[in-house]
């Protein structure tokens, strides 16, 4: 098991009180596994990604542990985390396109970045990784402004995995890209895993169809908690949690016309995490909710590797 997150709680400090963005989340990630993390906005998926690499000033580690390769990550200690960032845990940010320093040519930027971590640049290795994602070596002598969005995205991917981190967090890396570029970027990520540049990966997205193509396991989150986690095919073909089912039913696909099959959304909106209601958090929107849902559903393993947090599953 390369990553083990147990009962992780991360709260945002606001003037009105604490927003419980992650409220007791536990899951594991095996070596070589790609975990797709899906959910609506505000479900805590980006918060999880951020907590594993850097808690910003508004975030507070309220409990739980993160163990990577047998070592506990000091996620609450910004300075001590520095030893792990980039070497052990690396991130491709949501807006990777604006992550490159606009005043430096790529080569100089990468050299400076590596030097700050006490590593010298291996140009041959960098170029071979760039060619793997389809970037010519001339890119190194260009400014970020001279690259297209997809090229910048791939450049950031190469840079953030250059030190062979154990865990890579890819936060919505494809959401700003066109479909054909998205496919190339997604395949490049798979290539990184297959070449062993990264051991395991958390792929955060809101696009379930895309996750299905990349991830081995999919974890569906709802209101700061785990709703369902299972192998990708199981989530798509035989979901057990009502939220996952409704989410899948609301996806338009090429070939589905509203005149043939009218899709429906999920009525209502997620509860406020400022003061979340007791019991199952999906209860108010759930079509099959009953008496027992007033109590918190535990995460149960209903089949090998298939975890569901629902009384009715």
């Amino acid at each position: 098991m390369s990553l083990r997150v147990s009962e992780l709680k991360v709260y945002y400090r606001t003037l009105k009180g604490e927003v419980r963005a992650l409220d007791g989340l536990s899951f594991g990630l095996a070596d070589g596994e790609i975990l797709g993390l899906v959910g609506e906005s505000g479900c805590g998926k980006s918060t999880l990604g951020k907590s594993l690499i850097r808690l910003d000033g508004r975030m507070r580690h309220a409990g739980g542990t993160v163990v990577l390769d047998g070592e506990e990550l000091p996620i609450a200690d910004d300075r001590r985390m520095n030893d792990y960032r980039f070497h052990q845990v690396s991130l491709i940010p949501q807006y990777a396109m604006s992550a490159l320093n606009p005043t430096r040519k790529i080569r100089r930027m990468v050299t400076e970045l590596l030097r700050s971590r006490g590593v010298t640049l291996d140009t041959a290795e960098l170029e071979s990784r760039m060619s793997q994602v389809g970037l010519p070596r001339e890119v190194l002598d260009r400014y970020p402004i001279e690259l297209s969005g997809g090229m910048k995205q791939r450049m950031v991917m190469v840079v953030s995995t250059l030190l062979d981190p154990s865990l890579l967090i890819a936060d919505e890396v494809t959401s700003a890209l066109d479909v054909s570029t998205q496919k190339a970027v997604a395949r490049a990520l798979l290539g990184f895993r297959d070449s062993g540049y990264v051991k395991s990966m958390i792929f955060v997205t809101h696009d379930l169809a895309l996750t299905h193509h990349i991830a081995d396991t999919i974890m569906v989150m709802y209101a700061g908690r785990l709703a369902e986690k299972a192998p990708a095919d199981v989530i798509v073909k035989a979901p057990r949690h009502p939220y996952t089912r409704l989410l899948l039913d609301s996806l338009p696909e090429v070939g589905v016309r509203h005149t043939d099959r009218r899709l429906t959304g999920i009525a209502g909106s997620p509860p406020s995490l400022l003061d979340p209601p007791a019991g199952c958090r999906f209860r108010d929107r759930c079509p099959i909710a009953g008496e027992e849902c007033a109590e918190d559903p535990p995460v149960a393993e209903v089949a090998a590797g298939h975890y569901v947090a629902c009384w009715k599953a």
Partner: protein, 293 residues
């Protein structure tokens, strides 16, 4: 036809003194009737939003013509009574210091000064219920207190207060969650049944496919394929359309590689520039394959 684009071209001047120019839209022609949804599909930079902006009169055309009900587009009060646009980001479409009722109040001040207050309140309530919003829940709220899906529906409700015939919807669901996105699409489908024409601009092929009768595929400012949606998606003729469709991630299918186009239909049938009719209402442009004469 209600809306007709005829050989529309748009050039933008760029560079320090406008010395260079870039053609964003090149000879685009299509039309749209009442109660019809046409989806305009293309990647970033294909000119799809520019076409929407030209139809809304926000940018002038450089060549060709756009006519609405037989008259050229003239941005102004009368035109916007019938034609309205909704854009991608609902949070920046609203004035943050105006409550929702004031947004509607502006419409009343501009178009319906003589309507008495009670009658107006009834109309606002009706149009809000039309978009399945609870008036009590949204009126009197500031934009930041509402969700993205509510705001987009509020914009549609605002458009419905007018005597609207054509709605230009530019990526209106791309910022919404999967669970609410489909509700906005279903709403558009219902309005279409009431005779509203919708130009649905998107880069998401599955969304375009869900609603539209006809699809226009754009590439670098030119139309590459145009026709009934089931033809364009079911039997794409242009290699670019095939490539796009192959890149769309689907739930129950492996990620396919585009089927290559073996023979150019266009030149085999003697096409020379412009679009060629490949089937009833189904037009395709020169693919520019390496083997072309």
């Amino acid at each position: 036809m209600m809306l007709k684009l005829d050989d529309v071209t748009k050039e933008f001047r760029i560079g320090a003194f406008g010395g260079k120019s870039v053609t964003a839209v090149r000879n685009v022609s299509f039309d749209l009737g009442p109660g019809e949804v046409v989806s305009l599909i293309g990647e970033s930079g294909s000119g799809k939003s520019t076409i929407g902006r030209m139809i809304l009169g926000l940018n002038p055309v450089s060549g060709g013509s756009i006519t609405f009900e037989g008259r050229p587009v003239r941005a102004g009060k009368e035109y916007y009574r019938h034609v309205q646009g909704i854009f991608q980001d609902p949070f920046s479409s609203f004035n943050p210091v105006f409550k929702a009722d004031r947004v509607f109040g502006l419409i009343k001040d501009t178009y319906y000064r003589t309507v008495p207050g009670e009658e107006w309140a009834r109309r606002v309530g009706d149009s809000l219920r039309d978009v399945r919003l609870d008036p009590g829940q949204v009126l009197g709220k500031y934009p930041h207190q509402l969700s993205g899906g509510q705001l987009q529906r509020l914009l549609i409700a605002r458009a419905l207060l007018l005597d609207i015939k054509l709605l230009v919807a530019d990526e209106i669901t791309s910022m919404l969650d999967a669970s609410t996105r489909i509700d906005v699409l279903n709403l558009l489908a219902d309005l279409k049944a009431r005779g509203l024409g919708v130009l649905y601009i998107t880069h998401d092929l599955s969304l375009g496919n869900y609603l539209a009768e006809r699809t226009v595929v754009l590439r670098r400012g030119s139309v590459v394929e145009l026709g009934p949606t089931e033809r364009v998606f079911g039997d794409p003729l242009h290699p670019y359309t095939r490539e796009l469709l192959a890149a769309v991630p689907r739930l129950h299918q492996e990620w396919a590689d585009a089927t290559p186009v073996d023979a150019c239909l266009y030149h085999a049938r003697g096409g020379t520039g412009g679009l060629m009719e490949a089937g009833p209402g189904h037009f395709v442009a020169c693919a520019g394959l390496g083997t072309c004469p």
